[in-house]
């Protein structure tokens, strides 16, 4: 292929800039020639070129399913993009312990929970628990940190109560179930509660989960967000740097009691 023009990157099927994309979708229309035409028109309507409806199937009850290949004229300017992540570079556990935790004058307290009715513990456990995930130790294994995992199905109210009790410096919440955007409701509620309790400023607030991105987290008023494949060190790097940046020592041991 010729040189890739990184300022105008297009999908690549089998030749540079051919713009090929595959898509599939269902339309709530009865199967047949008209349905296929609808799939084609929809693809054109979406700005795709030369749409090829390569498969059409009757799903019953007035639904039709399609597979389409088409070309998009769109491109992205790769050069100007930035990866959507909380910390530019990630440090290892030992590095974090040596360069940050050993130097802090008190152990930061980190609270973890999977909130709402969400019962998926595996994700938050992967981050918090000693054992960790895929051979990457969890926060409980970090020297110089006090990590407390509340587990799953924890209400936002309880998170706030426990954070106050334990004088948490960071709150790490997990959200796995996202159907009908229930996670947005849960996350917004927690952020509002902390705000209302005047606790937001002195808390590093982090969320993670398979459908979470840093960008989404920022939009929701969180300090950072972590998606699939996160390890404890990813979030630890961010948290310690953020704590240092905010000079959390001066928050004091009993910051909520003041």
């Amino acid at each position: 292929m010729g040189e890739v023009d990184l300022s105008q990157v297009r999908p690549y099927g089998d030749s540079l800039d051919d713009g090929l994309v595959q898509l599939s979708f269902t339309l709530p229309v009865p199967f047949g020639g008209k349905a296929k035409e609808a799939a084609r028109q929809l693809s054109l309507g979406m700005g795709l070129l030369e749409p090829n409806v390569v498969h059409a199937a009757d799903l019953g009850e007035g639904f039709s399913f399609f597979v389409v290949y088409a070309r998009t004229p769109c491109s992205v300017d790769f050069d100007t993009l930035k990866a959507d992540r909380a910390a530019e570079t990630v440090m290892g556990k030992t590095e974090i312990e040596l360069h940050y935790l050993a130097k802090f004058r008190r152990k930061p307290v980190i609270l973890g929970a999977c909130i709402g009715t969400d019962a998926h513990t595996v994700g938050i456990d992967a981050i918090m628990n000693m054992k960790g995930y895929n051979g990457h130790k969890g926060l409980e294994a970090y020297h110089g940190l006090a990590a407390v995992n509340l587990g799953a199905q924890v209400s936002s109210e309880e998170v706030v109560v426990r954070a106050r009790e334990l004088n948490a410096d960071a709150i790490l919440v997990s959200q796995v179930v996202t159907q009908k955007n229930i996670h947005l409701a849960n996350l917004t509620r927690l952020a509002e509660l902390l705000e209302a309790e005047n606790m937001r400023e002195k808390t590093v607030l982090v969320v993670g989960g398979p459908r979470i991105s840093h960008r989404l987290a920022k939009e929701l008023g969180y300090d950072a967000g972590f998606g699939p494949g996160t390890y404890a060190e990813d979030v630890a790097t961010f948290v310690v740097q953020e704590l240092e940046r905010r000079n959390f020592i001066q928050w004091g041991e009993e910051k909520w009691k003041q």
Partner: protein, 525 residues
Amino acid sequence: MRELARLKLDQDLVDTARTAAAKIVSDLKQHIDAHTTVSVERSALRLLGVDGVNRDGIPLPNVLVEQIQRRGKLGLGAAYWLGNAILASNLPVQPLAEAAGQGRLDITGLADQGEARVQKLVEELAVKALGEIASRRQERELLLRQLGEGPQPYLYVIVATGNIYEDVIQARAAVTQGADIIAVIRSTGQSLLDYVPYGPTTEGFGGTFATQENFRIMRQALDEAGSNAGRYIRLTNYCSGLCMPEIAVMGALERLDMMLNDSMYGIIFRDINMQRTFVDQYFSRLINAYAGIIINTGEDNYLTTADAVEEAHAVLASQFINEQFAFLSGMQPDQVGLGHAFEINPELEDGFLLELAQAQLVRQIFPGSPVKYMPPTKFMTGNIFRGQVQDALFNAASILTGQSIHLLGMLTEGIHTPLVMDRALSIENARYVFRTMRHLGEEISFRPGGRIETRAGQVLARAVTLLEEIAAAGLMQAIGRGVFAGIARTPSGGKGLDGVIAKEPGYYNPFPARMLAGRGSYGRG
């Protein structure tokens, strides 16, 4: 039909395992017999005819049971108080319940009508309720005879839109596509509600609320779709969580055919108190048994959390325990759908062989019981194209080992609850694999002493050891040590303990004895 390939297993070990499981369960029988729960009592009221909600939307069974509990009188059984109140007030059941629901009447505060009279009345109501359930059961048998059913493995798909009306549309489409069983998945969080929502609902998350009206709506839709498709379509829901027995009542009355109903799932995965769960599950299974409902146990869930290779013996041990709990409630073996899942890491060399060993092991150890075989979920990712392959191998394992209740894997399992096309693609996947491999299981045999047989023997041996440990420690204590799925729960921890009530002398509930009557027991205890 010829026999499928079989593994040589040590039958003595199987017997030892079953004996240990029977002991574990019978040790708990004492606790079960000595206690009732708010949900068991609400179930009794529901069976006796209490239905509806009060002005605040609180179900009347809850209002009544709370009233009785507040007065500290639940130890005698809600049935007793209802019967007494009916006689005392001279009101029929529902108006009485409504009056109590509006606070116009305290059902424990009325004049005592005498045990004999009360019981006579309640027994009449109970007979009516059980007759109702029995006719639902006959209806099912009739429809099955009239319409027939799809070949095994049955294709089992879920609908989970959160909206019962959308669910209906998707379920009907799934039937056109070839589904045999429709499971309506529950909204997250329902299991922790200590009441059952009421009426048709359209706002669930990751699933649709289980309500009696939702059951009815879906049952009707599936009867229609099944009659068009020319085969009986089974309906499944979750008889699980804090309202386990009440949902059993609803399912029995609305002719559900299957219920996810595990003796320990709520404890382990929902942190529901175990004293509560053991009592609830017993009563819920009495009802399911009586209604001819097939239960699906939840061992598959262990494998989504713990490692499928390392925890295989725990799955088997749990199946033995679930079996004995089911027998205790009068279930027939063919009502006990045991949970298993295709959850071995795709990165593992020869993982499929280990999976065959396990799937075949379960078939042979529980020959009279169907397995609810769950698809890969844990190792499903956003790579939907690889997902189709994982599901294809799962389908192959199922047809090779002759499973019966086959929960279809969705290519989007790692992403979202199924879209309408996901279900169609997964049905197509399964039908193709089943068709093209239809009689493969009959045409091969497993090498004696080979990797597959050896693995099966090891899992069995480890399960025996575990069961004997549990039998020695007691189930509650063993769960406290995290024997299942690596999750530990304590006897007094978790949700719902305040709903457990010690029975008092004179405790009255007309149902257990009637439900068990005439049923042979398969237990060993």
